[in-house]
């Protein structure tokens, strides 16, 4: 039995448009870290085609060969026929577990094990039971749900179904038809010039009194500050959560993974770990959702 029995660490898909080589390098680096499950694939915008499904499958093979689990994540919002076609193709591949980002994927995945991503609205036990009958192996809790609902859902969970929490990263808050990165550059989505590539960690939105508030990433809106559940680690472990997800940032993702791993191993106190995480979250941390407050609030973290 490894020292980290539960929760295990996972790495969420890259949410931004990074250069192709950077993506390959990133996964080569991540394979060497203590994350046990790695999600990969384009989840935000179908126009980003620097990597094709074949590329992701190739990386997934490397992840598997390194003894880790690879999961292919799919788009959070399906609009066009082309997107649906690609989704169908990704879901037809049987080699890797697939994380559904949209209801469309559920239909394609029904009857085999799958993961329901945080953009699938799974808020209660009846939905959990329903999806479990279709083959749900794991679900990522919608990020606005706090510990009391997490605790309730874990009490009801069907046997064999794992629960994953979004534990570190800019919160995925909303999806739109409009590309906000292009919009703020005066461009339309159809002529975006892939300008989101200029913002490897998204485009910051600040209130008129200087509060770092939101972060624009194509059609996705994120929190500007970084959500961290590290201070709740003991409680999370006691609840029986199976996985903690770390959402990639362009810098220091490996460092973040090591801090979480060290805290799970008992080598580092979560309070001390949070002090370290702070230096890699220059705009600050947030954790309000966990304690049932507004998501941007900071309650637990020191």
């Amino acid at each position: 039995m490894s020292e980290i029995e539960r929760p295990r660490l996972s790495l969420g898909p890259i949410l931004y448009l990074w250069p192709r080589e950077r993506v390959f390098d990133f996964y080569a680096e991540m394979i060497e870290t203590p994350v046990e499950v790695i999600y990969l694939g384009e989840t935000i915008c179908s126009k980003r085609r620097q990597l094709k499904p074949e590329d992701y499958w190739e990386i997934a093979e490397q992840i598997t060969a390194a003894g880790k689990e690879a999961v292919i994540s799919t788009l959070a919002l399906i609009e066009s026929e082309g997107e649906l076609k690609t989704l169908k193709r990704i879901c037809a591949d049987q080699r890797f577990l697939i994380e559904a980002g949209d209801l469309a994927a559920l239909g394609f995945l029904e009857g085999r094990p799958f993961v329901a991503g945080h953009s699938i609205n799974l808020y209660n036990h009846r939905t959990l039971d329903f999806l479990a009958k279709l083959g749900l192996k794991r679900w990522v809790m919608p990020v606005e749900l706090g510990r009391s609902t997490v605790a309730d859902l874990l009490k009801y969970r069907p046997p064999g179904v794992e629960c994953e929490l979004f534990a570190f990263g800019r919160l995925p808050l909303a999806y739109s038809a409009r590309c906000f990165t292009a919009y703020n550059r005066g461009l339309g989505k159809d002529n975006c010039n892939f300008c989101c590539g200029d913002y490897p960690d998204g485009l910051l939105v600040t209130t008129q009194e200087g509060q770092a508030f939101l972060n624009l990433n194509g059609i996705q809106t994120q929190s500007a500050t970084v959500h961290s559940l590290l201070p709740a680690l003991t409680e999370i472990r006691d609840l029986g959560v199976d996985l903690l997800r770390i959402s990639p940032q362009s810098q220091h993702t490996a460092d973040v993974v090591h801090v979480f791993a060290d805290c799970l191993n008992g080598k580092l106190d979560p309070r001390e770990g949070t002090v370290r995480l702070r230096q890699w979250a220059p705009l600050g941390l947030c954790d309000g959702y966990w304690t049932g407050q507004a998501g941007y609030r900071l309650g637990m973290s020191i």
């Binding site: 026929e81 989704l87 239909g107 209660n124 606005e144 508030f213 809106t221």
Partner: protein, 331 residues
């Protein structure tokens, strides 16, 4: 094409019925529906009265139970489904898969509509909900262009309802947490975007400020028009410029593309605004009834009347209207 109008209370229901709605939609007086505001919505007895009034005039009544229950409050949603079906309504508008599963199993005779909050935007997603829950209609989130709506309709066997007029929700409905990020309460969990209890209006030397959960959404000069403060319509600093980074304070109005919507095979047009007034419902229902009838008679010659535009402009929120996502350039 059916005209589906909002009913925030009994007088609004009667106004919609009297002025030409084919159907009205409403909710219980709690967080089981996505327009959970103080003083709004219906008791069971009021629904029963509304159903009688509407049915006597051959108008349908839909009940929205379109928020997402959690284990701790699940029984209230279950009870809401049971109560609504006992009141003789024509359809339930649901979003949550668990609630849909319950309603389909417990009340197989009742028509289920997939709410806009259900976030189904593709033939595969709609087919999935149809296969499992037998949905009889889908309300589309405001994300697809007109061409995409037309193509979608070709590829499904579920009738489609779209939003035609009212507040413009910029995000995919049912998957927007902006409100809870600032206030702790979201459309999904609480049934309201920007809940009034978390909104502050303050006059300061810098101008009038509006906040949600303490976060400054807008600071405007005296006399600048103010809509209801939502995060997506706020003004912020982005890349060194102060701007409406997500959307301007604008309303949706699809009157200009009504013939195209009809030709695309849209089954129903929904008017947003259960939180608005009886006057709003009266005027908007009148205009849309006339417009739909005129368009049905002669779609080629359809031209929105100037009087319709004026009337709708009077009741629009914000300073402008847009065709919104139906027009590709909006994206």
């Amino acid at each position: 094409m059916e005209l589906v109008c909002p009913a925030g209370n009994l007088p609004m229901l009667k106004a919609a019925v009297d002025h030409g709605a084919d159907a009205v939609y409403l909710g219980f007086r709690d967080d089981t529906n996505a327009r959970h505001f103080a003083g709004l919505n219906f008791t069971d007895q009021q629904i029963a009265e509304g159903v009688k009034y509407a049915h006597d005039r051959r108008v349908k009544v839909f009940v929205a139970i379109n928020t997402y229950p959690q284990p701790g409050n699940w029984t209230r949603w279950q009870a809401a489904v049971d109560r609504a079906t006992g009141l003789g309504i024509d359809a339930l508008i649901l979003a949550d898969m668990g609630v849909l599963d319950y309603a389909a199993e417990r009340h197989p005779g009742i028509s289920l509509h997939l709410s806009v909050q259900g976030s189904a935007t593709s033939p595969a997603a709609i087919g999935f909900m149809q296969h499992h829950f037998g949905i009889k209609r889908v309300v589309l989130p405001r994300v697809l262009s007109l061409a995409q709506v037309a193509q979608l309709i070709q590829n499904i066997s579920v009738p489609v309802e779209i939003f035609g007029f009212g507040s413009l929700c910029v995000m995919v409905e049912g998957r927007c947490l902006l409100s809870s990020y600032a206030s702790g309460q979201s459309p999904n969990t609480f049934g309201a975007c920007s809940p009034a209890a978390h909104v502050e209006w303050r006059d300061t030397p810098q101008g009038q400020e509006t906040r949600l959960g303490g976060v400054l959404l807008e600071r405007r000069a005296p006399g600048e028009p103010a809509g209801y403060p939502t995060i997506c319509k706020g003004r912020y600093w982005v890349d060194g410029e102060l701007r409406h980074a997500i959307e301007e304070p604008t309303s949706l109005n699809t009157l200009d593309i009504l013939p195209e919507l009809m030709a695309a095979g849209v089954s129903a047009i929904k008017i947003e605004g259960r939180q608005r007034s009886t006057r709003y419902v009266t005027q908007v229902t009148q205009v849309w009834r006339e417009a739909i009838d005129a368009c049905k008679r002669n779609p080629q010659a359809f031209q929105p009347k100037e009087s319709w535009r004026k009337m709708l402009a009077q009741v629009s929120e914000g300073t402008q209207t847009t065709i919104g996502p139906y027009e590709r350039t909006w994206h």
